[in-house]
């Protein structure tokens, strides 16, 4: 993973609740065996509509996506995160994220910025009123700044560390190889194997 320390840019307000991963990237797109090319699939069922917020002139070039509550619920498809990232977003803001989606974000360096419902609502109105509002997200202090709003967001220590250092999760776990082997030595004999 590439290190992520600060993000600065503008935002797109996607004012809908319960934007599930089927909406973020419909299942037709999941047949790919590669990890790239998903930007075209992002919200593809909605993109045909010229009035859809991603198509609006004033939001072009934004790198922060603001969603309503329950963003990214539904399926485990990491393709949803790849699509958002490959389209050009570096952070997603929502009052509540689906757990798996949130995890997938942190594995890929897409910053999930969880804010309280009222702040989410205010941010949404703020960019609707002024699309040039600058958003600053700082990982080290877990802070989001936009207009007159300054708020902190949750990010556990190990995820924060991985973001700042750009660390490979698997590499970190493999360092605990001896502990894994010890654990395996203690597993009960009655546990099944699949082979």
């Amino acid at each position: 993973m590439r290190a992520v320390r600060t993000i600065e840019g503008t935002a797109v307000p996607l004012d809908r609740s319960d934007v599930d991963t089927d909406q973020i990237i419909p299942s037709d797109w999941l047949k790919q065996v590669e990890r790239t090319g998903f930007e075209k699939g992002l919200f593809s069922e909605w993109r045909d509509d010229p009035g859809f917020v991603l198509n609006l002139e004033q939001f072009q070039g934004a790198n922060v996506l603001i969603g309503g509550p329950n963003f990214g619920t539904g399926s485990s498809r990491e393709h949803a995160v790849w699509a958002i990232q490959q389209y050009g977003f570096e952070a997603v803001i929502s009052p509540r994220f689906g757990d798996i989606f949130r995890n997938n974000c942190t594995k890929n360096g897409l910053v999930p910025v969880q804010v309280d419902a009222e702040t989410g609502e205010r941010l949404m109105r703020m960019v609707e009123d002024d699309p040039t509002t600058v958003f600053e997200i700082d990982i080290a202090s877990r802070t989001l700044r936009a207009g007159d709003i300054e708020t902190t967001f949750p990010l556990d220590d190990s995820t924060q560390h991985r973001f700042l250092e750009g660390l490979d999760d698997i590499g970190l776990t493999l360092k605990l190889g001896d502990e894994i082997s010890d654990f395996e030595g203690r597993r009960p004999a009655h546990l099944p194997t699949a082979s």
């Binding site: 065996v33 329950n70 757990d99 890929n108 502990e179 194997t193």
Partner: protein
């Protein structure tokens, strides 16, 4: 010291390492399918890594497989490539793979339990959100993304932060005609799609204990629709009876040791949950979803709700959008809504007990709509249904009896809804476009789906008697 909940006990058993940086959990069973694994295997190859425990890993093909003419080559070249990629990856890394047409093939969450691979007290993961199904056995089972699939392949562990605990207690006797699906839809109606986020739910109470393993799997399956990390039910005699004699279940002295251990997997009397919800079983009736998220449900005797009456603005906006997409007018009685297609199957309701419930309704009656598909969850389910003669009842009644797979649950194979087509479905997600672009999905139980196929509009089996 206060006691522990079931989920805490299972979690603690799997701690390889615990520190300031969170927990590292050992994974007892890793299930793999064709959609979320190719990029994970690629990642392993790029880093020069191997699969640590191919013996704890099992692959199957389900999402893309066609459900007819499976003796022919797969027509969609992209689906075919994804399936071939899984087979090649499994061969390269030494993983058992149930390819299309293999007797062990089926939906990933159906085959684990039916082979006896899912057992109490285990940790089970899969690159699929409905892994929560396996929690019916008292296992911690959850869906993971592709990066995590790669992590488990390489290390057989996952770094995790400990979720909170939640109890959903359904106490009392279920009314006749109320099924496990209705129980879980009613729970969803109560707590909504965000109600379980960050929590592992334990389903408790006499109504839950009265369910068969199939029914318990239906309930746990939809934990993810509440946003929960996992859903569990404490193992009991029903669980042990289901497992005994299955191909991967322990035998002899191992069986006795296992059962003795499994009996300790209950929430201690003095344990506390972070969140608790209690539902009266007697109040649950057959349910149907009306909107585009699984929390938007009503009793089948109810009507399409009025968004105007909703106090919460977010909820109201969501309801307005949903009614527009679903082509429904507020106030319409659900039983008057005509249906074009019925889909019976999926990891929620594609098990043998579900098919028996459908056969009971279908016997001696006729389907009155154009398309009513029955897709068994696995070859084992299919063979069992054939052995019981259920397939004949289905065909006789005018149902389309198909080959196993995920099928119209998510429309990655040729089984799709057309835009505007309305479907009563036994699956778990009524999201926009889930069953095909523009398709309209209503979630129901197998019994309601069968009765609806016959009546042509939403109906319960009891409605057919009158």
């Amino acid at each position: 010291m206060a006691g522990k909940t079931l989920s805490e006990k299972v979690w603690d058993r799997h701690l390889v390492h615990s520190g300031d940086d969170g927990d590292l959990l050992y994974i007892d069973l890793h299930l793999v399918h064709e959609v979320t694994s190719p990029q994970a295997f690629d990642g392993l190859r790029l880093a020069g890594r191997t699969v640590r425990r191919p013996d704890l890993t099992l692959a199957t093909m389900d999402h893309n497989v066609p459900t007819s003419n499976i003796d022919q080559p797969v027509a969609d070249p992209i689906s075919k490539k994804q399936m071939d990629t899984l087979a090649a990856n499994c061969a390269e890394f030494g993983i058992t793979c149930h390819a299309m047409g293999d007797p062990g093939q089926g939906i990933v969450h159906i085959i684990g339990p039916e082979q006896g691979l899912t057992q109490p007290g285990m940790t089970v993961v899969c690159g699929d959100s409905h892994t929560s199904t396996h929690g019916a056995f008292g296992a911690i089972a959850f869906g993971i993304g592709t990066s995590e699939v790669e992590h488990v392949l390489a290390t057989q562990t996952l770094p995790q932060s400990r979720p909170k605990t939640m109890a959903v207690t359904v106490e009392g006797d279920l009314q006749p005609g109320v099924t496990a699906k209705d129980v879980v839809l009613a729970i969803l109606g109560r707590i909504g799609t965000g109600g379980g986020i960050g929590h592992m739910i334990e389903y408790r109470g006499s109504a839950i204990r009265s369910l068969s393993m199939e029914g318990r799997m239906t309930v746990c399956n939809m934990s993810i629709e509440m946003g929960a990390k996992a859903g569990l039910i404490a193992p009991d005699e029903t669980t042990f009876e289901y497992l005994e004699g299955r191909p991967h279940a322990p035998e002899g002295a191992d069986w006795d040791a296992a059962v003795a251990d499994w009996k300790t997997l209950v929430t201690d009397d003095d344990a506390t949950f972070d969140k608790e919800v209690v539902i009266d079983a007697a109040e649950i009736t057959p349910h149907v979803s009306w909107g585009t998220n699984p929390g938007q449900v009503v009793p089948i005797t109810g009507e399409v709700p009025h968004p105007d009456a909703m106090v919460d603005a977010t909820e109201r906006n969501a309801a307005e959008r949903a009614l527009d997409y679903m082509g429904l007018a507020a106030g319409t009685p659900m039983k008057q809504v005509p249906v074009d297609t019925v889909f019976i199957g999926s990891c929620t309701n594609g098990r043998i007990e579900d098919l028996r419930a459908v056969a009971e309704v279908a016997e001696g009656r006729k389907v009155s709509i154009n398309r009513a598909m029955i897709v068994p969850g696995s070859f084992k389910v299919k063979d069992q249904a054939v052995a019981e003669g259920l397939d004949k009842i289905f065909v006789e009644a005018g149902f389309d009896w198909r080959e196993p797979g995920c099928s119209m649950c998510l429309a990655m194979n040729p089984d799709k809804l057309a835009p505007g087509e309305r479907c009563a479905s036994t699956s778990n997600r009524n999201f926009e476009g889930r069953q095909g672009r523009g398709g309209r999905t209503h979630l129901v139980s197998p019994a309601v789906a069968a009765a609806t196929a016959i009546a042509g509009h939403f109906a319960t089996p009891a409605d057919l008697e009158n």
